[in-house]
Homo-oligomer: 544 residues x 2
């Protein structure tokens, strides 16, 4: 059976930039465009040339891509020709092979928001699309508020998209702009459009997540016949965001009936980079990745329930809908105090640590985890701290270095300009072999702002570890979480730190103490120790 | 037209607790159960009595609710009677009016995970449900892996749920346990179940979000005939989470075809508390609320695109699928603060502060709040810090004292017994009138344990405030929350402190800084200032 071609259209750089708090730089846009191209996306919408300086600069700087680069704009205004509309000219000046123009299709909006006649609007659509085609561009018409418009006045909504179709738009994109249309209705209306004579292979779908149904709405439109689907990485976008391509892509490639019906530009190999691509975007945005994100979230294949965890050990398919490796993600069986020895052995094996059933040290590990969880530790999220604990119990953790003492000072006083400023300073003394190293750092960042005592400690600790320095130079702290919790009978502070290295590995460690600085220090120590232990284990294996 | 009754079943306290990193205390479970009951949820599943000490303790302490309290457990094991199964007995011992038992319906799981015959499993289901009914409980059967089971062996999957139905289970809950079934298939299989003779008014639906379709799958099952829907607040739950009730509830109440077809226990007034309930849960979990969450997210009605924002001013329905007020949320549009002023006057009146409409200082207060919230402050929970900000702007805040400088040291080293110990010490210098006061404190508590730098600072700050000392002597710090959040473009620490005094007053203050010690100090200062300002205002009023 021949599979039909389904086209993926990414609008991370345009609609995704409408996310509250998101503002990409030109360099970031270039980086994202490259990642989208490597993923095998068909169309990359880069922004609205002429609308703001960043978007214009990006089109000057845009990278060469296999994907069709697309500029976004709006249909010409009434009372002038398409060639004489300077906003439209600004869009065409970006010289992209494809141009997508938004236009109204809901009578209410034509009359209320634009204040023009229904016929003027039809003329704007037809003439604008015809102008794109005459200029040799692939033309896309973004049918704004199409579903709401169709519900209010189906004849007019259809007349609008027919104007674009007759002017030879390659794609007519049906937009659920306000995000309020449920999947069934999206499917039904898309079918009606096809029955009215616009073929499915000319239709795209653009949904928003205001009812939590953006992905389902897109699938419903594809099922009805649309052959282009629009969305953004990690579901960025205005309000609740656009359809999440990071969710849609694996669904289309791995789930029936889609997997055997359609072909996209995304290869299985590219799919295996999906998790990394998703994390890269969060990294650019300095956002904490959503643990619960479908397919790519850190928790997406985490099995906490006791019944699930023990079955997973027998056969992962018992509680997993896909193999996590297909999307570049990994299984996590958290070490909770309910987990038994077979889970533990399995978990250790995943970390590259061999252990035999019945080894008395396994019971010791489980006891330690239980006791520490009672003290306020949580190993659910801090897999790396768990690994250190296990390696230590199994005699597989060399003593890389020893911390002899540290001292942190936080001071706030008036500076010479009579302004209150604060400064933190940390001194850390470690012993590596027989050598004692004394390091001092302060908490000032490049901008002269005080990043606090934990930052100063982290810098001092990582400043000089002698022979291990090279191994930790590419490490960086990417997230820091603090929670006041119960440790035995008293309140303690639990600090969880996420670290990353140059190889794209990411790991979490935990520290607990009534003293927040001390809890942070413990988590930092574990973070460095994990990196050294992994590198050490890697070398030991290579030497075998 | 009579509307059909649709039942809402919440499993935040059971499946929601399977979220990685989530562990509710008994008190937190009580607080959540009360909120669910106030929302009008029909069934509250409290956990698995007997499975762990926390769940057992909660059933002892569970609040009186209008909702049907439900205990979760599993069907009896093979080779014994239901009455002689001690796990099942543990569940029944919680004495809840309803009990939900999970059982296998997928032949593969019966043979692989349980290792029993298909017939034994049918007997386990039937006998367990019959036992619940004989004990006078409302019986629910949680058909684990039902959709996967039906796809693999429809006859056997149906036989399983028929065993529960014949034993008079009130509800048979069709579970997409692994979360991999797409909405269309959920709808199709639910229809097939009804055609096979299990009426829709006895069917529930339980979905997971592994393909981002948990809400859509639930809607598809309801559309097919299921009349109970299960989910969790904020979509907590194993892996990617359960169907999000915070999204489903407004969709069912406000969106067609559901709104006019169904009736639930949720009133319009309760719906108006939805955003607050969602935030309360995040608060308990110390999680940053998801800005893009449908309906309740801070960005759900934020209009960033220029075209959208200007149309919204003319008519909000142009770019909003519902009125945000219906779910207790608010529109965010970059524009004048006119709308805020009457709210502000009401809020100030609540604090005993009189202000006139049109006072230019009101606009100033709103601007300051907006600017500070962009820096990472949050006044939602820190009413006392907001009051100080407002009193200052209105010239109603005397300068009680001034902090000249402080210095905190945290040190960790070996003590004379060669054990690592830490100690914090704080020096604070304040000026009261013309008098300079120098105080020093260390962080050791009665038991000799180090409570950390913030504790030392709090003690030093409260040690000597001269004439104000008496007023703050009965103050104590009762809670301390730390959150890493976004302040402008960088991560900052937000500290919220709850204080209490001898009169039983409790108030919250906030501080923000990249430096956690500094953020804490700011919140501590506000806490003392609020107490002094209130006492001062009280005396001024008494003197009038």
């Amino acid at each position: 059976m021949t599979r039909e071609r389904l086209y993926l259209y990414d609008t991370t750089l345009r609609d995704g930039q409408q996310t509250q708090g998101v503002q990409f730089s030109t360099d970031e846009k270039v980086q994202i465009a490259r990642a989208l191209d490597a993923m095998g996306i068909d169309y990359i919408e880069g922004g609205w040339p002429g609308a703001n300086p960043t978007d214009s600069a990006f089109f000057e700087a845009r990278p060469e891509t296999r994907a069709t680069f697309t500029a976004f704009g709006m249909t010409k205004r009434a009372g002038r020709s398409a060639a004489n509309d300077e906003v439209l000219a600004g869009v065409l000046n970006a010289r992209t092979p494809a141009v997508c123009l938004v236009g109204k299709t809901h009578d209410f909006h034509v009359e209320t928001a634009l204040g023009i006649t229904l016929d003027e609007n039809l003329e704007n659509i037809g003439a604008s699309v015809a102008h794109l085609v005459a200029e040799g561009r692939e033309a896309l018409f973004d049918a704004e508020h199409f579903f709401d418009g169709y519900k209010a006045n189906p004849d007019y909504a259809l007349a609008c998209i027919r104007a674009a179709f007759d002017a030879e738009a390659r794609w007519i994109v049906l937009c659920d702009t306000n995000g309020g249309t449920l999947p069934d209705e999206i499917g039904r209306i898309t079918r009606a459009v096809i029955e009215a004579g616009i073929p499915g292979e000319r239709l795209g779908i653009h949904t928003h997540d205001d009812t939590g149904n953006a992905v389902a709405g897109s699938l419903a439109a594809i099922d009805a016949g649309a052959r282009q689907v629009q969305g953004t990485l990690n579901g960025l976008g205005e309000r609740c965001g656009n359809a999440n391509l990071t969710t849609l892509i694996p669904t289309l490639l791995l789930k029936e009936p889609f997997a055997s019906r359609f072909e996209t530009g995304v290869t299985g190999e590219a799919l295996g980079r999906l998790t990394r691509t998703s994390r890269m975007l969060d990294d650019i945005l300095n956002r904490v990745p959503l643990r619960s994100a479908p397919y790519v979230g850190a928790s997406a294949f985490a099995h906490k329930a006791g019944l699930h965890a023990s079955a997973i050990v027998k056969d992962p398919s018992t509680y997993e809908h896909i193999d996590p490796g297909l999307v570049g993600n990994a299984r996590i069986v958290p070490m909770s105090n309910q987990a038994g020895q077979s889970n533990l052995i399995r978990r250790l094996a995943d970390m590259g640590i061999a252990a035999e059933k019945g080894d008395p040290r396994l019971a010791e590990i489980l006891d330690t985890v239980k006791q520490r969880e009672a003290e306020g530790y949580s190993y659910d999220t801090a897999q790396a701290s768990f690994e250190i604990l296990a390696r230590r119990a199994l005699g597989q953790l060399p003593t890389f270095f020893e911390v002899k003492r540290y001292k942190v000072t936080v001071e706030r006083r008036k500076n010479k300009y009579n302004r209150m400023v604060s400064l933190s300073e940390a001194v850390v003394v470690v012993k590596v072999g027989d050598t004692k190293m004394l390091s001092v750092s302060e908490s000032m960042d490049e901008t002269g702002s005080d990043r606090g005592p934990v930052n100063a400690l982290a810098k001092a600790l990582a400043k000089d570890l002698g022979p291990y320095q090279a191994a930790i130079d590419d490490m960086r702290l990417v997230d820091f979480k603090v929670r006041i919790t119960q440790g035995g009978t008293e309140a303690v502070t639990r600090v969880t730190i996420d670290s990353e290295d140059g190889q794209g590995r990411r790991w979490s460690t935990v520290g607990v103490s009534p003293n927040i600085v001390d809890a942070s220090f413990e988590a930092l120590l574990d973070a460095i120790t994990w990196k050294l232990a992994r590198d050490h284990a890697g070398q030991a294996n290579a030497a075998e």
